[in-house]
């Protein structure tokens, strides 16, 4: 691709000219995988989205602590249950110098809604956007949407003139063409792309014309994917990079004890849980018996109580996890702190429940588990196996790489699983999302990852109501009711929210850790 190599230095120097060359602050950071592309509406993937949010902006910005702040919109108000008026920021320029206006928002809405877009879900409730004048718009939703603002940060705004001039409006399914917008960037964000050499490096420089006052003090940022965790740790220890994540949990003490390097830990939004097949009449592992023990809530509860989450937390996760009783993490809209307790670990009670349900000697079941997706995923599953064995359950562990795992437990193989591990971060930062995707079945777009096909009539009903309820108190009451049903029915075994662990070198003065496990360059300060 566009490799500049030795010339890079010269190019960088040109950009640095704004400041003095002496305080050139190049921030080099690394994680396991490269970004998938630069088109804001293709590839909905965490690290890729974070890279794009350095380059593009939405009407609203979600800060490192998840709070919402004005970005391309300066302020907004609700003028009717389905209408929101947004005042757009004036004097904002795209990287190429074009002015930002209401027309850019309109064309971005058209583009994000193209059939081949992967980001349509963030504007799913929007009916239309009306241009009042160049810097005022009305967003009209199809129904009263309590989560509209939560979704807007990932609705990135592109430049109309640029799209038209480069014939880059279209999106094709499966990225079957090398699209201009996937390789080039023209956003309003605080950083501009200098080069992207896939799997090698992505170089960014600050946008000198950005409307805001930067918190960061970078003059240049170089992102390098390093797939191997041990190599990544070594690169940090040898000073070749300034920040890397994720740090394998077992290496945190080693980083802490090394001079010039520290580990930064914090909670992540992802909830890890186990699910059961509650749909088939016969368990896959018990052919010929005509029985599916998981249809009995006592069996599900027995599994729950057989698992010693504190031992997993202490040993497998080295305390870098927060055991959870809910399917969502603190920080997600709708989280209920008083409902977050778990059923106690109690093998005796588990045995009793199994006996009561008619399985005093247990039964065989296969646990499907990824081995390269979540923090210590395979180790967690390995630890679960003996715990269940002690109450009589014969668990066979099937741990495999994520592509195969998700294919097996997902729709592709018709939910070919009886007992599985999955993790979920609500893309909308709202409780409705996991209710819709994980805990209900009926209706369009529902239950995409409800691999055990858990369902409950009242929860189906509640989930639809929660979607359109704008009264916060009523909505919260319904969310609580749904969570209570899910807990009573033991729809899933909630395990924990894993912790983030970043390794930071001595050149970094301060970095704000977002619960996304990604670096937003706005929040990096170098020495």
């Amino acid at each position: 691709m566009r490799s500049k190599n030795i010339v890079i230095g010269a190019v960088a120097a040109a950009f640095i000219a704004a400041g003095t060359a002496a305080d050139a602050k190049t921030f080099r950071y690394s994680t396991s995988g490269d970004i998938l592309g630069l088109d804001p509406f293709i590839n909905n993937e965490g690290p890729t989205n974070t890279m794009k949010s350095n380059l593009y902006e939405g009407l609203i910005h979600r800060a490192w602590d998840l709070s919402l702040h004005p970005a391309l919109a300066t302020d907004w108000e609700q003028t009717s249950p389905t209408t929101w008026r947004f005042n757009l920021r004036k004097d904002v320029k795209f990287h190429n110098g074009n002015d930002f206006t209401a027309d850019d928002v309109l064309i971005s809405l058209d583009r994000i809604r193209l059939p081949a877009s992967n980001m349509t879900f963030v504007v799913s409730s929007i009916d239309r956007i009306e241009k009042i004048d160049d810097h005022t718009i009305d967003i009209v939703t199809q129904y009263p949407d309590p989560t509209l603002l939560l979704n807007l940060p990932n609705f990135w705004i592109m430049d109309k003139e640029w799209l038209e001039a480069n014939d880059a409006f279209g999106l094709e399914e499966g990225a079957v063409v090398k699209t201009f917008a996937n390789l080039n960037v023209n956003g309003t964000g605080p950083f501009m792309i200098e080069e992207w050499v896939p799997d090698t490096r992505t170089v960014l420089v600050p946008n000198p014309n950005w409307w805001g006052t930067p918190w960061h003090n970078l003059t240049r940022a170089v992102f390098t994917p390093i797939g191997n965790a041990a190599t990544r740790v070594a690169a940090l220890l040898s000073g070749e990079i300034d920040l890397m994540y994720p740090v394998p949990l077992q290496d945190v003490p080693r980083l802490e004890s090394t001079a010039g390097v520290q580990a930064l830990q914090g909670p992540e939004l992802r909830t890890i849980f186990l699910g059961f097949d509650q749909h088939r009449d016969e368990l896959l592992d018990m052919p010929g018996t005509g029985k599916n023990p998981f249809k009995d809530v006592r069996v599900r509860k027995a599994f729950y109580q057989a698992i010693d989450i504190n031992a997993i937390k202490r040993v497998v996760m080295r305390n870098a996890a927060t055991p959870t009783g809910l399917m969502i993490a603190p920080g997600i809209n709708g989280f209920q702190p008083d409902m977050n307790d778990r059923f106690p670990h109690d093998p005796e009670a588990a045995k009793a429940l199994l006996a009561e349900a008619g399985y005093p000697d247990g039964f065989p079941v296969t646990l499907d588990c990824p081995n390269d997706r979540y923090v210590n995923d395979e180790a967690i599953c390995l630890a679960v196996v003996p715990m269940l064995k002690r109450v009589g359950i014969d668990v066979k562990l099937n741990a495999q790489t994520k592509s195969l795992h998700f294919q097996k437990i997902g729709r592709a193989e018709q939910w070919n699983t009886s007992f599985f591990m999955l993790g979920w971060t609500p893309g909308s930062y709202d409780a409705h999302n996991p209710l819709q995707q994980l805990m209900t079945l009926d209706g369009e777009g529902q239950g995409t990852w409800n691999c055990g096909r858990f369902t409950h009539p009242r929860m189906e009903e509640l989930t639809d109501l929660i979607a359109g309820e704008t009264d916060v108190q009523k909505r919260t009451a319904m969310i609580r009711e749904a969570f209570q049903i899910h807990k009573d029915e033991v729809g899933h075994i909630t395990l924990h929210q894993q912790a983030l662990a970043w390794g930071i070198g001595s050149n970094v003065k301060e970095v704000k850790q977002r619960p996304h496990n990604d670096v937003d360059l706005r929040y990096v300060m170098m020495n």
Partner: protein, 323 residues
């Protein structure tokens, strides 16, 4: 038995015994045994190999813990260091891993899978490769072209993909209940299939050289059949490189097995092989729990070393030209 020999059965048995004893004596008098007896390195290699086999196949009786019985595992025992370090205990002489598994026992149980997969897959690729290589090199012509192009196709698929393919097929054609039983076979075939080409090509090259030599032409002149020439005359003269590659391939096959288990192909992670133990342990290299990877690693190195030394000896001892 030998009823028509005219001897009473007891005498026949005695004769058989005598003949066996004679053979044994001849074996002990032979050059092979002599070269074995006089080479301390070979004896040491033999002992190490035997120890590995005994430890592996008698693990259920010899190992301090049954690490394949998951009910005995306790997370509270995780990460204990070896006995001579602070915090170590005689219960777990070489320490424990992140699941609370005794490393020594895990090595013994894991060794069995590794030995079976390692030896069986190498044997499979040697038999397949040497057979096809001999035929290809000796017969030549279209058959040679065909076999070698099949080999080229095979070369394009690394063991990982072969295993995925075989396992995928096994999953679609076999009932769920027997899939676990064939997992080990799939591993052996996958690793064996991805290795036979180097034997075939090596043997083919050497055969092409050998078949022009006088002794082969002489055998042909006296009317020996091609198969007999190939296997009785040519084969012994091309086996040298085969033994070198085969003995070296053993360690590689054992490590390949660990790579495949990462894909969910093969033995379940609750019954780790030697290679899988090393793979798990790798994650703990920086964090100070070195015993989780170093001890299985040492076991593999010792086994590989011993087998290679035995292979060196065997090659020298069996080679007609070196006697």
């Amino acid at each position: 038995m030998n009823i028509d020999t005219g001897h009473p059965p007891e005498t026949a048995a005695a004769g058989l015994l005598a003949r066996a004893a004679d053979r044994l004596r001849r074996f002990f008098d032979s050059d092979i045994f002599h070269s074995f007896r006089t080479s301390p390195v070979t004896i040491a290699a033999f002992v190490v190999t035997m120890v590995c086999f005994v430890a592996a196949f008698f693990a259920p009786w010899l190992a301090p813990h049954n690490t394949n019985d998951v009910a005995t595992l306790d997370l509270m025992n995780a990460f204990l260091p070896p006995v001579w370090m602070e915090g170590g205990t005689w219960d777990f002489p070489l320490g424990t891993d992140e699941q609370g598994r005794d490393v020594l026992s895990a090595i013994m149980f894991g060794m069995k899978v590794s030995l079976i997969v390692g030896f069986a897959s190498v044997l499979f690729s040697v038999v397949l490769g040497v057979g096809l290589g001999l035929v290809s090199g000796y017969v030549g012509g279209r058959l040679d072209h065909f076999i070698m192009r099949v080999a080229d196709v095979q070369l394009s698929f690394p063991a990982v993909l072969v295993a995925l393919l075989l396992f995928g097929f096994a999953k679609t054609i076999l009932p769920r209940a027997v899939q676990d039983d064939v997992a080990l076979l799939v591993l052996i075939f996958a690793i064996g299939l991805s290795n036979w080409v180097q034997f075939a090509r090596t043997v083919r090259g050497s055969t092409m050289v050998e078949k022009n030599k006088e002794y082969v032409q002489a055998a042909r002149v006296i009317g020996r059949r091609p198969l007999a020439i190939m296997f009785q005359h040519v084969l012994p003269n091309v086996m040298g490189p085969v033994l070198v590659i085969a003995t070296i391939s053993l360690a590689i096959a054992i490590l390949t097995e660990a790579t495949l288990s990462f894909l969910g192909v093969g033995v379940p992670p609750t019954q780790p092989s030697l290679g899988t133990l090393i793979r798990f342990g790798n994650n703990f290299l920086f964090s100070g729990e070195w015993w989780m990877t170093i001890f299985p690693g040492v076991a593999l190195v010792a086994l590989a070393l011993a087998v290679n030394l035995l292979g060196d000896w065997l090659r020298d001892a069996l080679n007609p030209k070196l006697r």
